[in-house]
Symmetry: C2
Subunit: 90 residues, 2 copies
């Protein structure tokens, strides 16, 4: 496997009470093509997540990094506890 492995980070006690969703996306390119689609993919993945979770705009942290052969997108979302029910209204 390439890319990234899961290495759980020890959350401190203040963090454990909250509910969080983290999405990491890594595109390793063989031919040096640059994936312009990552910003669009980010928007569309957030739309998908919002169908299932109540997500406040200010609860989303996004980091997009583009290297020569590796681009990564990290989306961190704080979910209101119990927010994982089907989001009725967005």
């Amino acid at each position: 496997m390439f890319g990234f492995s899961f290495r759980p980070r020890k959350a401190n006690s203040a963090q454990t009470a909250k509910e969080r969703l983290q999405i990491l996306l890594a595109h390793e390119r063989g031919s040096g093509s640059s994936p312009e689609y990552l910003p669009i993919l980010q928007k569309e993945i957030l739309e998908v997540v919002r169908r299932h979770l109540k997500v406040a705009d200010d609860a989303v942290d996004i980091r997009l990094e583009r290297g020569d052969d590796l681009s990564s997108l990290e989306i961190n979302i704080e979910v209101p506890t119990g927010g994982a029910s089907t989001a009725t209204q967005n």
Copy 2:
């Protein structure tokens, strides 16, 4: 930050020629609610990715793990080199 840190895995030379997309998703739950939506989210994220990448069915590897307070979803996709153009037909 909670969840997972990116720890790039050293790809061996046979792997570097290929183009790959890896999506890791971790849901850390405070209240022990179990996110039944992960399998649905997985399906919908793949649909989003397919709008941008040509993805063959057999090029997708999915791992879903559910723990008490942490569930994770890993999607590994091998992309045909140059497959990162807008996918015309799926």
